[in-house]
Amino acid sequence: MSDSPIAIVQHPEHLHHFVDAEQQRDAAQLGMWLFLATEIMFFGGMFCAYLVYRYWYYNEFAAGSRSLNIYLGTINTAVLICSSLTVALGVRAAQMGNRKLLVILLLLTIVFGFAFLGIKGVEWYQKYEEHHIPGRTFNADDLIRDYPQIHIDPRPEQIYFSLYFAMTGLHALHMIIGVGIFIFLTYNAWKGRYSPKYYTPVEIGGLYWHFVDIVWIYLFPLLYLIDRKPLR
């Protein structure tokens, strides 16, 4: 979200209003960290809603959580962790001035990003087929049938799925933006615009990617692992 990627492509040294390149780099980093702070509060609003309703409707949350595909969820977590590794290694490659490695790692990250979104799409499609999308077509009869031990009220069950779609949807939106940023970074890296002296865009783009990863690290247990223990 910083303007420095564009800016610095055109002015390899630093922009006129900065004293030197270091000041510019510090500013860009601080800017990204502050932006991530606002992102924490952005997701925080939904975490607050989640906390309240999980406290109120634990049974419905438990049943909804059971209905998610834990295998796909776990695989997706692993995919994101792998993408974080490639990002971190990418920054290292940029630090060392290894252009070819940098491009490969950035491309890998994009591939992982698409893999995550693809798997997420499959999961959403399953939810669609199960009529678990909130609204008029919503139907929780299968949950009531599958988990007779958990007493479920179908109305608040919709709240769980509303939160599920809002949270994973906005997370996916962040992933899409992240993939966009990384396509941009890959292009510039391929053009050889980053060097050990100047790789701030890769670094702050990486910060953003890691942040989106961390959000998922919390979403995974909060949405998928509420209650998986054997039913009595």
Binding site: W56, Y57, Y58, N59, H151, I152, D153, P154, R155, P156
Partner: protein, 331 residues
Amino acid sequence: MFDNFPLWPARASAGAGNVDALFIFLLALSAFMCVAIFAMILIFSARYRRRRGIEAEQIEGSTELEMTWSIIPMVIFMAIFVWGAVIYFHERTPPRGASEVYVVAKQWMWKLEHQEGQREINELHVPVGRDVKLIMTSQDVIHSFFVPAFRIKQDVLPGRYTTAWFRATKPGVYHLFCSQYCGTMHSGMIGQVVVMEPAQYEAWLSGGGTSGSLAASGDTLFQQLGCSTCHRSDSQGRGPNLVGIFGKPVHLEDGRTLTVDENYLRTCILSPSKNIPSGFKPIMPVFQGLVSEEQINALVAYIKSLSAAPTGAAGGPSLAPAGSRSQNSKE
């Protein structure tokens, strides 16, 4: 002052005087602060206006002064807080034995039902000197029950009960406003509270034909909906025995302990899975959408009547033995 230019609202409830007293105290305090600050500004402006040859004197500041004007206000604020909190606590705690009025708000109308069974729209008749507890819910959006003369206000929410209470002290007709914006005719959602002398009130009560008390219609409904097949007044039913439970703690299957109040009963009717008393199976059907707000009110009133003291006297938690339903269904 003039009839069409009043500057102070009528004071017609037991609590109104307390609110006014605190308000007047705050007014005096504010007036004092304003006068003090404005006087300082005027004096300084006159005394230290710019003159040729006279320079301003640079003063760094004074920690003692800063502490003084931080701590003294803080102490005063805490006093105001405590005073306000006491009034609020009083306003939010209906006295035991208050007579109850169930309020259902909808766009753009107030529907009120006395426990004796009288129904009113946009009008509430109450006698002087009786504690009245309002048990309110909304059919659609958020409304707010506001009677300026009583200094009470409480938002009325869809999906749950909120309560308020007052004791009228002066006969008269007072405004009942909806004070939470609720759509097109928000400003038309005005009713009136008619406060009457007890004798007149009794006359008014006996005037309107009613179909019996709210609890009695709740009883009928209880049979019609088949509640009584499980909730029996002995311990043999598949559902909990409802006699004498109101106001008592209930232990739930998941380990929580709640107190049975109006909201608890409401939740149990509409969404039984949320609170399952320990020792019972979650087998009760969901009644959301099957009963109207008025019917829920009647059921709640009926279940509460099962816990009323046999004499109907105010005060003291009921110790009515199980099985005393018939004599209590009417208070």
